[in-house]
Amino acid sequence: MAKQVLDALLAKFPTAVEKTESPHGDEIAWIKKDQLVTVATWLKDDPAMSFDAPVFVTAIDRLDWRPIGAPPSTHWTEDKPRFEVCYQLRSSKHRHRLRIKVAVLEQDGHCPSLAGLWPAFDWQERETFDMYGIRFDGHPDLRRIYLYEEFVGYPLRKDYPKEKRQPLVRRDDLPINPIKAGGKPGDAR
């Protein structure tokens, strides 16, 4: 059923859709970044589509596509970007679903925001920014949502050290006080 959505999308925007895939029955459409808002507006407003239920936004860090030690720009291309931003949509009227993916390169890190279309994506995009550092252009209030303002870096990126903590407060009588020893909150303990 959602295959029809992909077909309609390809018929309407033949240039905006980079490729489509349907692994395990999940319809995925890769959309070009500059066309994302246009496509999303059509998906929301068209009566045959009417995607009225935004499900989630997240990002995928494809750090493993680069061999260890290789310079960053060589192995991530437009075809194989470092970040994929995923928008999962669902229509409660037609009961079909669609996942939109946008390729975001590491050196770029920007993606158009869909929070203006679906307000439920507001906090979700903030979370994606908080964890992956994707900057959503046009977002009304792009701040950290879970972590504190003093936090340095983006913890769900695969190159963030696994046990690196950035403490806000520690006891004065600890044998090793990471705040006093390190000085800055961004230092690893």
């Binding site: 913890p155 690196k164 950035q166 407060v169």
Partner: protein, 181 residues
């Protein structure tokens, strides 16, 4: 069940003899009237409710009321995972409690961080506040909690709680300074 106040053993008798009668009496009063402040952050809170409920009945030991204001309580129970973001709040709650005060780390997350070894979880709430008794378990059985409470009561009677020892140390330092002058 109950707290055994054994005076038959020699070291216990010596310990009791060292304490003044006023201190003994006040510690006896303190240990049977603990007002707990449950700082509940995670799933261990369910087990805390079970301990506080009628089956296991924390009230038997005088820890009757959970007071939801740190200013009215003298036992801070850190129940659940403490994140780095919560650290300042926990420290503030602890600082607001009146002396003497005691802390129980309830569950393995509050004691050591548990299975969280990552950017957000604090490796034990003792990174921020001094803890008297640690309870392992994920979550701990109510019997473990009662055992820890009895342990803490023993400690309070002997004057070995963190805040009691600190007060004693400060008094000794002040006395030494006045004798110097």
């Amino acid at each position: 069940m109950g707290v055994e106040l054994t005076t038959t053993r020699l070291e216990d008798a010596a310990k009791w003899a060292k304490q003044s009668l006023v201190e003994k009496a006040s510690n006896w009063g303190r240990k049977f009237s603990l007002f707990s402040y449950p700082f509940v952050t995670a799933c261990c809170g369910m087990e805390f409710m079970s301990v506080a409920g009628p089956k296991y009945d924390l009230a038997r030991f005088g820890a009757e009321f959970p007071r939801f204001s740190p200013r009215q309580s003298d036992l801070l129970m850190v129940v659940g995972t403490i994140t780095e973001k919560q650290g300042p709040a926990l420290k503030r709650v602890f600082d607001q409690m009146a002396e003497p005060k005691w802390v129980i780390a309830f569950g393995v997350c509050a004691s050591t961080g548990g299975f969280y070894q990552n950017y957000h979880a604090m490796p034990g709430c003792d990174q921020v506040i001094p803890v008297d008794v640690y309870i392992p378990g994920c979550p701990p059985r109510p019997e473990q909690v009662l055992d820890a409470l009895i342990m803490l009561m023993d400690r309070i009677q002997d004057g070995r709680g963190h805040s009691q020892l600190r007060t004693k140390r400060e008094q000794l330092i002040a006395a030494a300074q006045t004798s110097d002058e």
